[in-house]
C-alpha cells in the first residue's frame, strides 16, 4: 500500500513537472522575448568576416540586454546541425537564430529542427533554390547579397582605372567553382564585359577564395599574359595574393585590381592605390538584421505569415568601397560598430532571391 502511494505521488509529481514544462515552453514561445538568447551560427572565428557576425550579435545583445551565444561549425555541416539542436535544448527553445550555414543543403535539417522547436530564424547566403522559405512557418527570411551587382561594380571600377579607360585586357580569379556567390560575381563581370566590348578577358582561373592560390595563379598567368591592364578577383584574399605576385614583378600600383569582402588589408591597399575597389559585406549588420527580424517575428511585431514571398527571400547590396570613401568606411564600420537603423528590415532590399 505504501509503495502504491509513493508510486502515485511520483506520477503526480512527474505529470506536474511535465505540465509546468509545457506552460514554461509556451511562455517562451511567441509573443515573449524576455530572456531570449540571440544565437548566431557561423563557419568559424578564423576570419574577420565571420568573426564580425559575432561582434554584431554581441553588440545587439548589449543593446537589448539579452544573452548571446555564438555557434561555430568549423566548416563541418554535421557539427553545425548538432550545435543548433544542442542550443535549442539548452535554451528550451527560447532563442532566435541568425545563421550562415556551412553548405546550402544544411538548411533543410536545420529548418526542421527549428520548426519543431518553434524557433524563429533567418538564413544568410546559402540555401538550395528549390527549398522555399514560405514552406516554413518559423523560417522568417533568407537573405543574400547581390553578387551579380558586386561583380559588376568592381569590374566597372577596374575598367575605369585602365591607362586607357574602358580599353584593355584583364585576367580573372574566380572563387570556388559552383559556389553561388562566385557564380553571381562572375556573371557581374560578364555583364560589364558585354557593356565594354573593348575590354577582353584573356584568361580566368579558379583560386578557391585562397590567397596562396591567387598568388600562384597570378604568377603563372602573368607569364602567359604579360601585357594585361587589370586583374578582377572574386574576393579580397585572392586579390591580396595577386597583389603580392604583382609586387614581385614591380607591377604593384601599375596594374589595377579589385576584390570583394572588405578584409582589413584591402582597405590599406586601396588607400595606397594598389587596389581599385572592393565591396564589403558588413557581417555586423547581417547579424543584427537577422536577429532583429527573428526577434520581431517572435514578439509578433513581424507577422511572418503575411509577409510577401519577395520579403521572405531577398538580396541586399554590399557597401561599395573605393579610394574616395575608404577612410569613412574604415572609421564607420571597421574601427567602430555603428548603430544600425533596423526600424525597416527591408530598407536595403534590392531584389527577390531564388
Amino acid at each position: 500500500m505504501k509503495h502504491r502511494l509513493t508510486f502515485c505521488a511520483v506520477c503526480v509529481l512527474l505529470a506536474g513537472m511535465l505540465f509546468a514544462g509545457q506552460l514554461f515552453a509556451a511562455g517562451q514561445g511567441e509573443g515573449n522575448t524576455a530572456g531570449t538568447t540571440l544565437v548566431t551560427s557561423i563557419r568559424g572565428l578564423d576570419n574577420p568576416y565571420h568573426a564580425n557576425y559575432a561582434v554584431g550579435a554581441k553588440a545587439l545583445g548589449e543593446l537589448l540586454k539579452l544573452p548571446v551565444d555564438v555557434l561555430s561549425t568549423e566548416g563541418n555541416s554535421q557539427k553545425g546541425i548538432s550545435d543548433v539542436r544542442a542550443e535549442v535544448a539548452k535554451t528550451g527553445g527560447n532563442m532566435v537564430l541568425s545563421i550562415d550555414p556551412n553548405q546550402a543543403p544544411d538548411v533543410v535539417p536545420i529548418a526542421k529542427i527549428l520548426e519543431d522547436a518553434k524557433v524563429y530564424w533567418v538564413n544568410w547566403w546559402n540555401k538550395p533554390d528549390d527549398v522555399k522559405v514560405t514552406t516554413y512557418k518559423y523560417w522568417v527570411a533568407n537573405i543574400t547579397f547581390d553578387s551579380v551587382g558586386t561583380g559588376y561594380f568592381n569590374a566597372t571600377q577596374l575598367f575605369k582605372a585602365f591607362k586607357t579607360p574602358g580599353k584593355g585586357k584583364i585576367i580573372a580569379l574566380q572563387g570556388q567553382l559552383a559556389n553561388n556567390a562566385a557564380v553571381g560575381r562572375f556573371q557581374g563581370l560578364q555583364k560589364a564585359l558585354k557593356e565594354n566590348p573593348d575590354v577582353e578577358l584573356v584568361q580566368w582561373e579558379a583560386g578557391d577564395w585562397d590567397r596562396t592560390k591567387g598568388y600562384n595563379l597570378t604568377k603563372s598567368m602573368l607569364v602567359a599574359h604579360p601585357d594585361i591592364d587589370g586583374i578582377w578577383s572574386a574576393n579580397d584574399e585572392m586579390a591580396m595574393g595577386a597583389l603580392q605576385a604583382l609586387k614581385e614583378k614591380g607591377l604593384d600600383g601599375k596594374i589595377p585590381l579589385t576584390g570583394t569582402d572588405g578584409i582589413p588589408e584591402i582597405f590599406d591597399a586601396i588607400k595606397a592605390g594598389y587596389v581599385t575597389s572592393t565591396v564589403m559585406q558588413d557581417a555586423k549588420y547581417q547579424s543584427q538584421l537577422g536577429l532583429s527580424m527573428a526577434l520581431a517575428a517572435k514578439s509578433g511585431k513581424l507577422n511572418v505569415a503575411s509577409m510577401p514571398a519577395n520579403h521572405r527571400s531577398f538580396m541586399i547590396p554590399g557597401t561599395q568601397v573605393t579610394r574616395e570613401n575608404v577612410d569613412k568606411v574604415v572609421n564607420e564600420f571597421i574601427k567602430n560598430t555603428p548603430k544600425y537603423d533596423l526600424s525597416d528590415f527591408f530598407s536595403r532590399w534590392v531584389a527577390e532571391a531564388p
Binding site: 578564423d46 574566380q174 582561373e205 585562397d210 598567368m221 588589408e265
Partner: protein, 343 residues
C-alpha cells in the same frame, strides 16, 4: 615468332645489352633511382612546350615553376618520411597554422614591435618539432593510428592558432627572410635551391645513416624490424619530429612569400603535398621512396599545374587532371602485397 626491329631493340635496351649513348644514359638515369619520375617530368614538360609553342620552356616560366615548386617540395620532403615509415601525417595544416602564428607574433610586423629576425627560423623549426614529438608520442604511447591521431592534433593546433591569433591577418614587414624566400641566385629562385639542399640532406640521411635504414625497415615490415632489435617507437617519434621541423619551415616560407601571416594561410596544403609524394613514387604502403622522390614529385605536380594554366586549360578540367594523376601515381607505386582487402 620473331621480334621485329624496334621491339627487339627495346628488349635489348631493357636487358642492358646495348652499349650506345642512349642506353648508357638510360642506365645512368636508372642509377639515380628516380628515372621514371625524370622521364615523367620530361614528358609533361615536352607536352606543354609543344602546346604553348615553346613559351613553357622560356626562362621566365621556368623561374616561375621553380619558385612555385620550392615550398611544396619542402613540405613533401617532410610528409614523405612519415609515409615511408608506413604511416601518414595529416597534421600538416594545423602545425603550419600554429607556426604561422609564431611568425606573426615574432617577426617584424605591422601590429607589434617584435623583431626576432633570423631567429624565427629555429623558432618555427622548434615549434614544428614539438608538434611532431606530440604526434609521435600519441601514436606510440596511446597506440592510435597516425591517420587519426595526426588529424586530431591538426584540429587541436588549428583551434589554438585561431584562438591566439583572433582571426587577424598580420602584415609582415621583415625584408630579410622575404628577401631569401622571394629572392634568387643567378636567376634560380632561392626557395628552389633551399628545397634542393634539404632534399639532398634528407636523402643522405636516408641512404647513409643507420637511422635511415631503420625507417625503411619499419616501413617495409614493422614486426620484422622490431624482432631485429630496432627501437621502433623511438624511430617513429624521431621521424615525426623531423617531419614537424619541415612543416615549420614550410609555414615560414608560405607566409613570408605572401608578406602576411594568418593561420589559414596553410589551410590548403595537405592534399597537394600528399599528391606530390605519391607522384614522386613514394609508396603509400610504406618502405619505398626517398626525399628525392618527394621533391621531384612536387616539381612534377607544379610543372603540370603551371602548364595547365599557361595553356589556358579550363579550370574544370584542371581539377580532374589532378585527380587522375593522383590515382595513376598511387596505382603505379602501391605495394599490393601489403593490402589484404581493398575497401
Amino acid at each position: 615468332m620473331t621480334l621485329e626491329g624496334g621491339a627487339r631493340k627495346s628488349v635489348m635496351v631493357a636487358n642492358g645489352n646495348v652499349s650506345g649513348p642512349l642506353a648508357r644514359a638510360w642506365r645512368g638515369l636508372q642509377k639515380t633511382g628516380v628515372a621514371g619520375q625524370i622521364v615523367c617530368l620530361v614528358i609533361v614538360m615536352s607536352i606543354f612546350a609543344i602546346g604553348t609553342r615553346g613559351k613553357y620552356l622560356s626562362w621566365d616560366n621556368l623561374q616561375v615553376i621553380l619558385s612555385l615548386a620550392g615550398i611544396p617540395a619542402i613540405l613533401a620532403i617532410g610528409v614523405h618520411q612519415t609515409i615511408v615509415l608506413g604511416g601518414i601525417d595529416l597534421s600538416v595544416e594545423g602545425v603550419a597554422g600554429m607556426c604561422i602564428v609564431f611568425v606573426g607574433l615574432l617577426l617584424k610586423n605591422k601590429l607589434n614591435t617584435n623583431d626576432v629576425g633570423l631567429w624565427i627560423v629555429p623558432v618555427v623549426m622548434g615549434a614544428g618539432g614539438i608538434a611532431g614529438f606530440l604526434n609521435g608520442l600519441v601514436i606510440t604511447r596511446l597506440r592510435i593510428p597516425s591517420f587519426i591521431s595526426t588529424l586530431g592534433l591538426s584540429w587541436i593546433l588549428a583551434g589554438i592558432a585561431v584562438y591566439i591569433n583572433k582571426a587577424t591577418t598580420v602584415p609582415l614587414l621583415d625584408t630579410q627572410i622575404q628577401g631569401i624566400v622571394n629572392g634568387s641566385f643567378l636567376g634560380i629562385p632561392f626557395i628552389a635551391l633551399i628545397a634542393l639542399g634539404l632534399a639532398l640532406l634528407m636523402q643522405t640521411v636516408q641512404d647513409k645513416t643507420r637511422f635511415g635504414g631503420y625507417v625503411y625497415a619499419i616501413g617495409g615490415d614493422e614486426q620484422l624490424a622490431q624482432q631485429a632489435g630496432v627501437r621502433v617507437n623511438r624511430i617513429k617519434i624521431m621521424v615525426f619530429v623531423i617531419a614537424g621541423v619541415f612543416y615549420g619551415l614550410t609555414a615560414l616560407a608560405l607566409c613570408t612569400q605572401l608578406g602576411s601571416a594568418h593561420p589559414r594561410t596553410g589551410s590548403n596544403i595537405l592534399f597537394p603535398a600528399i599528391t606530390a609524394v605519391a607522384v614522386g613514387g613514394v609508396a603509400l604502403t610504406g618502405g619505398i621512396g626517398g626525399a628525392k622522390n618527394a621533391a621531384l614529385g612536387a616539381l612534377i605536380v607544379t610543372a603540370l599545374n603551371e602548364g595547365l594554366v599557361l595553356m589556358s586549360v579550363s579550370p574544370y578540367v584542371q581539377q580532374a587532371v589532378n585527380g587522375i594523376v593522383l590515382i595513376a601515381a598511387v596505382a603505379l607505386t602501391i605495394d599490393r602485397r601489403k593490402l589484404g582487402f581493398i575497401k
